[in-house]
Symmetry: D2
């Protein structure tokens, strides 16, 4: 998963600042690395490195990056991808027609096949980025003009993708035919902006226009915004954006994330009521649904765990000995709230199950009388190959197990997963979602892209 | 304000690790600088620098700091103190009897007078720390033995203080006669631990024993814990620990901070009900009381603002131009929650008033129909000289103004401050609190220590 | 100009350490950036960054870089090349047959033409490195096997080049047909080593075997060293290696650099004797020839200027005001040695002329009665496009000027450049040198590679 | 050993820049740590840290340090002193009369006794610096006025010292009665400057006025330069300044260091001629005397060893295994110059003997037929307690051994130490030098100050 941003603003040269604040608003989509590329009258400059937005960019660097078009990227540290420095986006390349910069959120299912084909023809690769495959495809078709070349490249790729691209004159955005990953269009002063989520618009004072449509490719240049291509497909938004990824203050596909999560909590309370003393949320993404559950059930909401906000990327991990002595650095239970109580714990999802198990243990040790787990998503039984970083099937707790088996393994007094129908209803649409990780039926066929 | 920690553990040499995790739990008490000093068979080593705990200490440094006694410190960046590097604690000095290290939370009211007196006698100072005055006093009395010398020093100082000290054989703690700043005693393995708050004990797996009493001085050495001195005074805990400073999962003076904040919210709802659509809290410290208010009033609780969790210490501030365009980096309103709503906003306190005014504006811009402000503390009309960093009186919004005048200035539809009696009741004790910043009546006489 | 190194040592995995110490010995060939790539059973890892060898590599990084084949690079900060981070070698790419890493010292004259041709075919570029052109050529021919592909790539390029390459099984070296840039082969334990100069062998305890021949390409693998290709050309070693670049303790093309410089000084004294009181050298590369001049002329040698050894890369430049007041940070005159004296100043070369003019002024200000300049190279009148970083012709002091005109401009009492014949004789060979920058006759035709 | 600097310039505020360039010229006197303190209308600011001048100071820091008086310091990493961060000078303290800053080059023989006495009176110490003892003494006497207080402090201390001090109005310098460590006075624009060596004056464009006299204390303020105190003693300059410490382009005690070293080499050649083929110097400080020896003996001078100029402070040390394989990072022999030759090796001194032994081995391995060692100082048989960092007597190679025994241990073909008379004569004065390390007769009685 990644966050992407693009700005086109012909009358200003400080687009790197806009990109900086926008990426900072999208930081929750990726903390591993970040970069910004700008176009300054045809000369593309960039800076990208491993680290958080506020670590990677200094004032000097942002001031150096002058241009009227900019794109940016934040990357999630995927377990399946090398952490090499070469895998930091935007990818900036030179090709026959000048410079080209790309930022991608998503996963190209046939990337390996395309890479093999390109390598057969003598292409070299300097990263394992899907974006480098796309850049090579575009460069192959350069004789057809940039737009056409991009269309041909997009016709060749399969998977989930929200892409922003930049050359000397234009900002280009393309979204996959299933609209798996989010992407929105906004206005800023006399220019335009593309981002993964609307929270970036709020942060930089931009005005939301609309979502990029499924399969749509747009070009933003001196003529304004034009839709130059549409690749039809069945809309299948990733449900995890609503459950977990997106920031609660964002609008994704015209739906409020915060409201969706409240409704998921209410729906859970309707589907699976329980006689509890308090409702708590697993930090951070279970908290909003817990408030919804509390409201519907009339059971008081309380914080059950406090998360230390100062854990940095360079924190020293406790030794095994200290762990055994009870040193725990990230979460602390609010004993007064759970001691002697029947606790309803709302969590957004159970993937490996290690975190929720740990929380249940913490609650028990703090004196919780009962722990009832309610989950904002159906059982995750199939690993995602469309851009959500998940372990392989055998490491998914729910793969091949009944809910009762999972409950026992977790040591919960009760366990309930929201129904798929209930989830869709809470989010506000019966259709139009990818349910691959719950059912194994994905909108795009493919194999794990290792 | 600061956070302090001390560990005495004769059978282990990894006390710096305990101190590290403990300070990390106390990081909310100060983000400007931090340090740890250890005693290794009479040789005191230390490391201290400006920055967060996870920035200042690397594994190499923590491994180097071996010892069976350790003390540590985190400091708040006070507006009234120089940010010089020389003002980082623990203070480590050599004196006639060997090495001595000190960490202080609090403010010595007569520090300037004592410093003048000492300088008259030919003493030099290398910092503006109150701790350096105390160290000099102790060294003056060295012939009387360490305990006696500390007692004499403590008898000379006035103000608020929770101090941990360390020499080759012992860990010593002293709390002022009014118990203004918190300090707790715990057990860890075969040793003991002193900290500002119990959340540090939870993080490192220590067991809470008791609070250090008002005016108590204890020595921890091979004979265990002994109370060696008691300086009588009227107990006057700082109310801001309950309202704002302490972590919600801490126990301060035998009271749960989280529960106190819920009760404050309930009390506010009882004292000043309002016909609202939703209750929101000013991030972060107004949130718990907002939940309490919602519960008592039966008005739904919602998040009204999202705070970006990734703002680092080195963030680039937006230019004035970008600010005017609407770039806002820390807070974003959840429009769907407040648009067209009558909003009850719970805030912990109003000091300068700039933050709450900004939030009210954000809410109005997002479409809030009405904004009713409820405050968890009485009007702050007198600057504190007992350790709470506040601007001078003329910069306190409530100084010399009626509540109605403040309401107008803030642009709120209604404004209510909790009553002092209501606040005391919510926290669970009628007496025993310092109310100086509300009434001007402080338990210790003094002048601003600039 | 750059320094390159390659190690093949099947029985050890610490080749990155050998590369590290070797690069450190070659640091004089380039201080802008450095990198090491290793092959560990087919997996290529690398680290490269801007900075000096001892700044870029930490023990942790060198320990991580485990492999039995390694290549490395140090790069000179060319005035004609971008300082972008993307231009740091070794270049590491993936192609059809796996990973390939390259380090290049030299300049490909037809790089732009080849790049254009490749871009026409749809190739993208991620740097402005000539090495990336070569890697693409190799990948194009991958079906012919690696050796054959490299031969075809080498047949396509023109210019000066000493290249080391590495894949999973072998270390490969290729030198241009004119042997413009140096490259030597050595033995280390049971393995082999390739380097720019023999001083790297001395530093790491390797044994010199022989020079790589002009136009030779060798493969080092489990079968030992094999010459797989020879591309014939007229041997034309770069004279500046002897005059300026190479370390005095190196052997280049079977000639001792130190001895060559002594002989150049003696030859200068024979060709242009002068009645001087002392002979001094322009630091650092004029010093050895000055000793030779002194010896031949019987005039005493003295240090005339002291260079501050601690000027780092991050030194603060003096303001214009301070410069005018006389602040000079790098060179100081030894007044006692030059005051009232007739000084013979030996400099290695005059390119822009700014440094030697500054030295003459310093000497005059320090009281030198006369300053006679003797130069170890003929007048440099043509900019080099074969790998020596020089300004364009119009910035070359000697371009279009007589020696007398230059003398006047410099303010010297006399000025003499060594004769081309004398220089060849001193180095020990009448033929076999590139004299392009003196005569404009280069062994390879080409245009400036901007 | 340390380097010190002080600037008084009433009409400028950029004295920190002058100090910066001056310290950089004095960097050879200490590479462990450095600092600058400035006085800006009574407010003293400073920055000091471990590292080289160009590492510790950035442009931002130098620009922040505004003032019309400045003092600075570079410190040598003494084997006998802790490397704690607290031991970085200038020492800046506040006392009854305001701020005071001190930089010291030298060693106070009775520091421990004075420290004990002060501690008895209740003084605390925050470093192990002798400067902190001096600052405390001055503060003790504050009632007598600053000048008088300093005089009383100076009367109390014994040993070697060149001190610069600064308060709000004046720059003060004091040199010990034996003038053991150097200190010079210069003029810069309308102001004055104090430094350890004249090379600092040359670097910053200052004009040499005179040496500070033995036992002299001067005050520089709005009234100009006044000598306020003279403490009589027998002049006993440290001979190692001439042999080893001072920069060759400095004047120390009115003698040119470079000329002194040439004369030492000539004197060695007169006292102990040898039938050699070449003369080489041990890098770096033996080189100048080697040139002198060569000149007198008519044997050609050659470089015998090349020192790598790029070894940084953070260099990775080779493992034992690599060392045994021949990895040597700092020195390389010029084989062509020594192979088959009778080599005369001039070294400045033999202290532990490890370096010269290593060089002799390197020369032998490179084929030297004979190695004749000539030393610029008499045998060092007594450890110095007056500021020269030396091992204790038992680690001095010459302690308790005859020259023949030493020769055997070193494996030299012959070994000769210059005579004490010859050394004095070469430097140009029969008397007025400290010969303690050669004879055990020191001008100041004392014990090792550990």
């Amino acid at each position: 998963m990644s966050g992407i941003i693009g700005i086109y603003s012909p009358n200003r040269t400080d687009t790197s600042q806009i990109a900086y604040y926008g990426l900072y608003a999208l930081q929750h989509r990726g903390q591993a690395s970040t970069g910004i590329a700008v176009n300054n009258n045809g000369f593309v400059d960039y800076h990208k490195e491993q680290g958080l937005v506020n670590e990677v960019f200094s004032k000097d660097i942002i001031d150096r990056l002058m241009g009227n078009i900019a794109i940016g990227h934040v990357r999630y540290a995927s377990s399946q991808q090398s952490k090499e420095k070469s895998n930091v986006e935007p990818l900036v390349v030179g090709y026959r027609k000048g410079a080209l910069a790309l930022s991608l959120d998503g996963s190209i299912v046939n990337a390996k096949a395309l890479r093999d084909e390109l390598e057969d023809k003598g292409v070299i690769f300097q990263s394992t980025l899907d974006a480098e495959v796309i850049a090579n495809l575009i460069a192959r078709y350069h004789r057809d003009g940039l737009e056409e070349a991009i269309i041909e490249a997009i016709d060749a790729i399969k998977g989930s993708y929200s892409i922003v691209m930049m050359n000397a004159n234009s900002l280009i955005a393309a979204r996959d035919p299933h609209a798996l990953r989010p992407m929105v269009l906004g206005r800023i002063n006399n220019g335009y902006i593309i981002a993964s989520e609307t929270c970036a618009f709020d942060t930089i004072g931009a005005e939301f226009i609309r979502d990029i449509n499924a399969g749509e490719m747009i070009v933003i240049d001196e003529n304004g915004v034009s839709t130059v291509h549409e690749k039809k497909g069945k809309v299948s938004h990733c449900l995890f954006e609503f459950i977990y990824f997106a920031r609660p203050d964002s609008q994704v596909d015209y739906r409020s994330i915060y409201t969706a999560r409240i409704e998921i909590g209410r729906q859970l309370a309707r589907e699976s009521p329980v006689d509890g003393d308090i409702v708590i949320g697993a930090p951070d993404s279970g908290v909003v649904s817990a408030v919804g559950y509390a409201e519907q059930s009339k059971i008081p909401y309380r914080d059950g765990l406090i998360k230390n906000r100062y854990v940095g990327r360079t924190f020293i991990e406790p030794t095994q000995g200290l762990r055994e002595q009870g040193v725990k650095i990230k979460l602390n239970v609010l004993k007064d709230n759970v001691n002697g109580k029947k606790v309803v714990l709302v969590d957004d999802s159970i993937v490996r199950g290690t975190t929720v198990k740990r929380i249940i243990d913490l609650l028990r040790n703090a004196g919780a009388k009962e722990v009832h787990v309610r989950v904002s998503s159906p059982p995750v039984r199939h690993s995602c190959y469309l851009g959500v970083d998940m372990p392989t099937n055998q490491h998914l707790m729910a793969a091949g197990k009944t809910v009762e088996e999972i409950r026992k393994e977790l040591g919960a007094d009760s366990l309930y997963y929201i129904s798929l129908d209930g989830l869709r209803k809470a989010i506000g649409g019966d259709e139009g979602f990818c349910v691959g990780c719950f059912t194994g039926q994905y909108p795009v066929q493919g194999e794990m892209n290792l």
